[in-house]
Subunit: 195 residues, 4 copies
DNA sequence: AGATAAACGAGACGGTACGTCACGTCTTAGG
DNA sequence: CCTAAGACGTGACGTACCGTCTCGTTTATCT
C-alpha cells in the first residue's frame, strides 16, 4: 500500500516581498553608486533583507543586476501593422525603460555586470536573444518574403545594426537615446534594404 | 627678453621603473581577474610598489587601466597612400593591440573602467578623439574634397561606423576581431559612401 | 506585575575563543614589542582573528591591554587572619602576576596604555579602586578601630605607600619586585603606624 | 716634526635654528597628541625641517622627547643655606617646569618615551642621576655629617622618597604637583630622619 | 677665487599599520 | 523551511608614518 506522497515542500515558500525589495534596492544602488561599488551588504541593509536570503536565491550579484533591469521592462505592445511599426514595437520596451527615470543607470549597471560576469552575461544574452533578436529575425524574414525588402542580406548583421547603438550609447557614451529612436532605426534599416 | 629661470623642482624624480612595473601589473591583473576584482593592493604587491606610489600618481584605479591599455599600443605606421589604406592605418594599432597576447582582456578592462569611472572615461574619450577620431575625420574630409566619396554625409556617423564594432565586440560579445578588420571596415565604408 | 518579554537578541553570540585568542596575542605582542609598537594588525594576525572583531568589542587598543593584564591575575586568596597577612593578601595577586613569566612586561604595557589613553586609564583606575584600594581601606579602617594601629592617619596616603612602589618599579625602573614584597610592605606600614 | 692634524671638518655646522624648531615642534606635538601618536613626519612638517635632519641628529624619537623636555628646564637657583632650602632648590627646576604652561604634558611624554625606549630611558636616567640624584645624595650626606639628621638611613631610599611622587603623579595620575611641593617634600623627609 | 664637502629643504620610494567596508559563510531565534 | 540579525575570518579601501634614498641649494672651510 504505497502512499503517493504528493511531495509538497514543507514550510513557507519564497517571500515575494523580499525578492521585490532586494531588486528595488539593487536598482537604487546601481543608480547611486554604479556597478563597481555595488555591494551585497548595502543592498541587504537597504532592503532590510538578510544577506543569507540574497545568497540563497541568486548565484552572483551580476545576475541580480540583470534581473533588476529586466523585471522593470514595460510589456511589449502592438501598435501597428506596417513593417516599420512592427520592428519599432520590438525595440520600444528597451527604449522606454531607458528613458524612464533612472533606467539609463540601471541598464548601464546590468550591462556592465553582463560584461564582467560570465553567468550574468549568459542570462543577459539569453534574454536578449529570446525577446529581442529572435522576434526581430522573424519579422525581418517575413517582410523579406513579402518582397518589402530585398532578400540577400545578413539577418544577424541587420539585427546588430538595429540594436548596436543602444548598447554603445548607454555604455560608452552615457548618452540618452534620441526621441523616436526605435522608429528611426527601423525606417533607416528598411530604406537601406530596399529592393 | 630674458627667459624665466625655469625653477627645477628639488628632490628625487618620479621613478620610471616603478611606473612601468605598476602598469605591467595592472595589465596582468586585468587579464587574470577582470575589472571588478582588480585591486590596488594586489597591483601593489605584484609590482613590488607601495600603494602610496600608486595613489600619488593616478587619481583613480580606472585611469591606471586606461593608461595601461594605451601605453601598449604599437605606433601608427604608414603603409599606403590609397584611401582605404590610409583609413585602415589609423585603425590598425587598436586592431593589433587587441590581437596581441591578452590585449583583448586588457582593453576590455580599460573600456569597463572608462564606463564606470568619470575620470577614466574622460581620459579614454580624449585619447580616442585625439588619436583616432580626429585623424579619421581629417582623412575622410580630404578624400571627400577629392571627390573620391560623396560630400553629403555625417562625419561623426561615419567615424562611429568604423569604430563602433571594435567596442561592442570587445566589450559585449567578448569576440575577437576578424582578420583584416581595419581594411574591411575601411573599404566597406568607402563603398557605401561612393558618389 | 507582568515581566517584560526579555527580548533576546537574534544571531550568533560573541565568540569566547576569539576573545581569549585576542587577549593572549595582546600579551605576547606587549612582551615582544612593547606598548608603542603594539599594532592591531599584528594582534589580529597572531590571534587569527579579524580586525573587525577587535574593533567590534574594544573601543581602543589601550583598553585591550588593560583587559589583557587584568584577566590574567590569579584570584585573591585568604591565607591568614593577622593584620599583616590580611593586607598582604590583597597585594599578593598583583605581585604574583608580575612575577609569573612575562607578567612584568604585560603590566608595564597595560600601565603605559593607561597613561596614554583616557579610556584605558579609566578602566585601569576603576579596577584598581574596586579591587585593591577599596578593600585595603576597609582593612586599614577596621584594624584602626581595633586599636592595632593609631587612628589619626590619612587612609589614601597609606594606600599610596603600599601600592606606589609597584607602579614606579614596573614602569620607570623596569625592576622586578623583591621577594615577599607584599608582606614587607604591609609590616613596614603597620610598624610606622604603630600607636 | 709631528703634524697636529687639527682635522677640522669642512662645510656648514649643525643648524641651531633647525634643532630648536624641531624640539619646539616635538613639545607641541607631545602636548597635542601624546607619546603614542607622536610622529617624525608631523614634527618635520611642523618644524619645516626635513626628516633627514631629524634622523641625522637623533638616534630615536624617544631621545628627542627627553631632550625636548630637559632643554626646557629652568636653571637651578640657590635661594638659601638651610638644609630644607638646599634640598628644595634641587627639586625646584622640575617642579617649575612641570607647572609652566603645558610642561606637564611634555614631561609625561618624555617619561613615557623613557619607559618604552631603551636609549631614551638611559638618557633620561643619566640626566636624572647627574642632575638630581647625585646632588641630593651629596647634600643629604653632608647634613648627616653635621648631625642635622641621623646617619643610619638608606641614601637611595631617601632620594626615592623625595622624587617618587613626581613621577607617579605626572605619569599615572595626571595630577598637578601641589604648591610648594619641593619644600614640603624636603621638610617632611628631614623631619622623619630627625636624629 | 675656486674647489670641496657637509648640512639643509623637499619629497619619492617600498613598506607597515590605521580604522572602515565588503566578501561569503556561519549561527541563533522567530514565524 | 524561510527569514532577519549579525558574528566571523579574509582581504581591500585610501591615508599616515616609517626609515632610506636622491635631488638641488646653501654655506663654511681648504687649497
Amino acid at each position: 500500500m504505497t502512499k503517493a506522497p504528493a511531495k509538497r515542500r514543507q514550510g513557507p515558500r519564497r517571500s515575494e516581498d523580499s525578492r521585490a525589495a532586494i531588486l528595488e534596492a539593487t536598482r537604487k544602488e546601481l543608480v547611486e553608486n554604479g556597478w563597481r561599488k555595488l555591494s551585497v551588504d548595502k543592498i541587504s541593509r537597504h532592503a532590510k533583507a538578510s544577506k543569507q536570503t540574497i545568497y540563497r536565491w541568486w548565484p552572483a550579484i551580476g545576475t541580480m543586476c540583470v534581473e533588476a533591469a529586466l523585471t522593470q521592462l514595460p510589456p511589449r505592445s502592438t501598435h501597428g501593422r506596417d513593417p516599420v511599426e512592427r520592428i519599432a514595437d520590438l525595440l520600444q520596451p528597451l527604449e522606454s525603460a531607458m528613458k524612464a527615470g533612472s533606467g539609463h543607470a540601471v541598464f548601464r549597471g546590468a550591462l556592465m555586470a553582463a560584461c564582467d560576469d560570465k553567468e550574468a552575461g549568459d542570462a543577459w544574452r539569453n534574454w536578449i536573444k529570446d525577446n529581442i533578436r529572435a522576434p526581430l529575425r522573424l519579422v525581418l524574414a517575413e517582410i523579406a518574403t513579402k518582397k518589402i525588402i530585398r532578400r540577400d542580406f545578413d539577418l544577424d548583421e541587420a539585427v546588430d545594426t538595429l540594436t548596436g547603438p543602444i548598447w554603445s550609447r548607454v555604455l560608452i557614451f552615457r548618452a540618452p537615446l534620441p526621441d523616436n529612436f526605435s522608429s528611426h532605426q527601423a525606417s533607416k534599416l528598411l530604406k537601406s534594404l530596399a529592393p
